[in-house]
Structure formats: C-alpha cells, structure tokens
C-alpha cells in the first residue's frame, strides 16, 4: 500500500472537530462512567478486604480496561458510524482527506482523553506509583488506547448506523474485557489473554504493583502487531468505503 502524505493543517482540523465531539452529550458519559466504575470498585473491594493496597491495583485495572474499551472502541465506533450515517464521511473523503489523516485525526483526541481518564482512575483507585512506573503506565495505556481506537474505527466504518455500531461493538467489548478479567480462573483464558492488548494492560498494572517490568518482549510484539494489523485493516476499509460502493 502506497503511503499517503499527512498534511498537518488537515490533521489539526480533524483532531479539533473530533475532540469537540468527544465532549458532546453522546460521548462524555463514557469517561465519566469509567471514573465512577473505578471509584465503585475501589469502595467495593476496599470494603471486602483489609489488604486495600492490592485491591487498588485490581480496581485500577478494571477501571482502565473499562475506559479503554468504552472510550476507545465504543465512542470511536459510534462517532465514525455517525459520520457514515449522516454522509459526512463521504464528504470528507471527497474533500482531499486521506485515510491516514482521518484515522490519526480521530485517534489523537481519543488517546489524549483516554490517557487523562486513566491517570484520574489511578488517583481515584489510590494506586501509588514511582516516576518510572508512571512512565511505564502512561506508555502502555497510550499504546492500548491507540489500538482500541483503531479497532473502534474498524467497527465504525463497517457499521451502517450508530445503532448498528453499538450492536456489533458490544459483544467484542465484552469478550475483550472478560478474557483478561477471568484469565486467573483458566490457563486457556490466561494464554488467550496474553495475546490480547486488553490482557497485556491488565497484567501490566499488576506487574507495576509488584515492581516487575511492565511487560515482556512478547507483550510488546503483540501490541505492535495488533496496532499495525488494525491500522492496515482500517485504511483498506476506508479506501473501500470511498471506492466501488
């Protein structure tokens, strides 16, 4: 696939419009929900055990997972499906916006907001980190947010309407969230979890809590492959949506 040039003025314009859309009433509920969910988990697990420090890591992992899925996948899918439904995506395509510019412009605000919410989740969960651990935490959450946003865009460009985007993303969200959550109960699930970006971030928070390296080489490879494959699929679908449809 031939690499298209990226024009910064187009990227800035798309990022600004997409960023404003994230603060709309349709989408702002998702980060708020993740923050509330983290707080609830902190309270519930804090009350259930005296070892509140360990459970803060689990509460944070659940909150981050929820945020990355709801904001990264759901919001991105719904926003893109809305562009299709209202025919603004086709208008953008015929206004000299290429797939790379559109995907980066859509990705940047989601990753930024997702990262801010993840940091807030860490504070709400009462999860203490050293500076180097904060760096690892931010790096891994940014990588996973970016992958989830690209996956969201794949669902969004496949869906015909916002309603169908919600319908098709829900099972994927549940699968991607539940496999890491229940990985501890089954070796098979744990093995599958280690091949998912959601599993890697879930384990990464536990690793940070135990002062271990955030992930290993296999984890980095999995993250890189999932991001690149998702991006390639999205760019192919973006072009397909513009041509011969």
């Amino acid at each position: 696939m031939k690499m298209k040039p990226i024009h910064l003025r187009k990227l800035a314009a798309i990022t600004e419009v997409k960023g404003k859309a994230l603060f709309g009433k349709n989408f702002i509920i998702m980060p708020l929900f993740s923050l509330g969910f983290t707080f609830l988990m902190k309270v519930v697990y804090g009350a259930a055990t005296e070892d509140a420090l360990d459970m803060s890591a689990y509460a944070l992992a659940l909150g981050v997972l929820m945020n990355i899925m709801m904001e990264g996948v759901y919001c991105t899918a719904a926003a893109l499906a809305e562009e299709k439904e209202k025919n603004t995506l086709r208008t953008l395509m015929t206004s000299s916006v290429n797939g790379l510019e559109f995907s980066l412009g859509s990705l940047i605000p989601v990753v930024l907001m997702s990262t801010i919410v993840n940091v807030l989740c860490a504070f709400i969960a009462g999860f203490n980190m050293e500076l180097s651990q904060w760096t690892s935490f931010l790096a891994i959450t940014v990588a996973c947010s970016a992958t989830s946003a690209i996956i969201g865009m794949i669902f969004g460009i496949y869906a015909k309407t916002q309603v169908s985007a919600g319908t098709i993303t829900t099972p994927a969200l549940l699968i991607l969230m539940m496999i890491p959550m229940f990985g501890g109960f089954s070796e098979t699930l744990e093995n599958i979890s280690s091949l998912l970006f959601t599993g890697i971030i879930f384990n990464a928070i536990a690793n940070i809590d135990n002062a271990l390296p955030v992930t290993d080489v296999k984890g980095i490879i999995v993250l890189a492959v999932e991001f690149l494959v998702s991006a390639a699929i999205f760019l192919a679908l973006y072009r397909k949506n513009g041509f011969e449809r």
């Binding site: 298209k4 003025r9 187009k10 800035a12 314009a13 798309i14 419009v17 859309a21 709309g24 562009e83 209202k86 025919n87 603004t88 995506l89 086709r90 208008t91 953008l92 395509m93 015929t94 206004s95 000299s96 916006v97 290429n98 513009g242 041509f243 011969e244 449809r245």
Partner: protein, 283 residues
Amino acid sequence: MNQHYISIRHLSKKFNKDFVLKDVNADLAKGEILGFLGPSGAGKTTTIKILTGQLRPTSGDAEVLGIPCDRIDETIYEQIGIVTDVSGVYERMSVYDNLKYFARLLNVPLKEIDPLLKRIRLYEHRKKPASKLSKGQIQRLILARAILHNPKVLFLDEPTSGLDPTTALEVHKMLMELKDEGMSIFLTTHNMEEATKLCDHVALLNEGVIVEYGSPEEICLKYNTVKKYRVQLTDGSKHLLKQSTQTAEKIASWMGSGQIETLHSCEPTLENVFLEVTGRELQ
C-alpha cells in the same frame, strides 16, 4: 494542455452483468455547463461517481482536469467541488463552523467564509446549528462548501431536487454567476426546464446510453419536424396551425386586424424529445 476540463470517451460501467453506462462520450469546456438529463436509474450518478474517482469504469476513458479518472486520488478534490444527494453536513456544528472546518481542510483563508455566507444568504444564520436549517438552507450550505475553495469544476447531482421553486431559482442564479466567473459545471438532473435554462450542452441519457447530445436549442430544433403555431385571439379563441402558405396568410390577416392576443411557435421541449426518442417519461 487539454482544452476540455472533462473529457469522456467510450465510457462504460457494468454492475454484475448489467451495463449502467454504455459507450458514453461527452466534453465539458471551461466556463460551460454540461447537463446529463435522464430519469432515475439512467446512469447520471454513476457518471459523476466515475468522474470524481469514487467508482472505476469497466471500460473507456474519462479525464478530469487532464487526470485519467482511474488515477484520481485525494489531491484532485482540491480542484473540484461535489454536491450530491448524499452530501452531509455536521448537524451539531454551526453554519460558520461547518464552512470553517472545510476551509481548514482545503487551505482556504478563513476571511473568505463571511463573504461566501453573505452570497448564499446564510450570514444571518451563521451561528445557528446546521440541524436547525431548512432543506433549502442546507442545500445552499452544501453548495457553499462545494465552491468554498473556488474549484475549477463543480459536480452537481440533482442540485434542486426536492427544493421549493424560490430556492431552486436562487440555486439557478448562483450557478449562472459561477459559470460567468469561469467555473465549469457538470450537472445531472431530471428537470428538463432546469437543463434548458442552465446548460450549454445536454446529454439525454436513457438506460446508460446517450440518446441525444448537443445544445438544448439544437436538440429541440432537430425534432421540430412538424412546425406548428399556437395563436390566441382577442375574442378568446385558440388555434393550432401547421406551417403553410394558408397559415401565413391567416396570421397576417389576424395581425393586420389587430386580433392576435398571443402567438407562439411550438418547438418540442427536451421532455418531448426524450419521450419521442425513448418512449418513456423523464420524471
């Protein structure tokens, strides 16, 4: 340098086994309006999609601004504007912000937005969300967005479909102004009055085939085989007369005695021509 902004040669498009365009030929020069006229399903929108790089032709060639349509990429959209029946607006954004977004994408100075808004008579609605606009206002906003970057070629797919007569007239007036400014316009319509009024050349399209091509006047005169005149006299009586020596004498006599209220020649309209050539109505 190609003298035509659009050049179409033997263009065909097949979906599955069905041809929707067959051996289509047409040209559009600078500052001209070319109309593709035909009923729904004639292949008008398919032609626009091929010319704007959204569909690949099955065979034949088409060039837009010298670029073969099968090699069109995003860069051409900085030189052409497109208005289709599926052009969308950002409903939650204001009229001004809709144009501002595309001005930034197309590298147009923001100071050009207000004069354009005044031109399309949406300046007083500039802060209003697009969702609050009427259908006619939305169509004007879509047209404004398509001409924001002063494109060389403007593609319009049924631009006045569903609009009230007043708004349609406003759109017609604006298109004539754009033409006078040197913009080339490729227009599809099933409205023969619109085509007759606006177009320098029209292609009558039926089931993917151009059945007539030329200026509206040329086409109408070509089919004006039985020349007739419609006369209304001052006493209210109406007469339809075939051209002949007797008719000429009769009209001269009425004219001499001041009896003629109205006198019209009866050339066929484009709709009559289309019906005669294809046996089907345009609408």
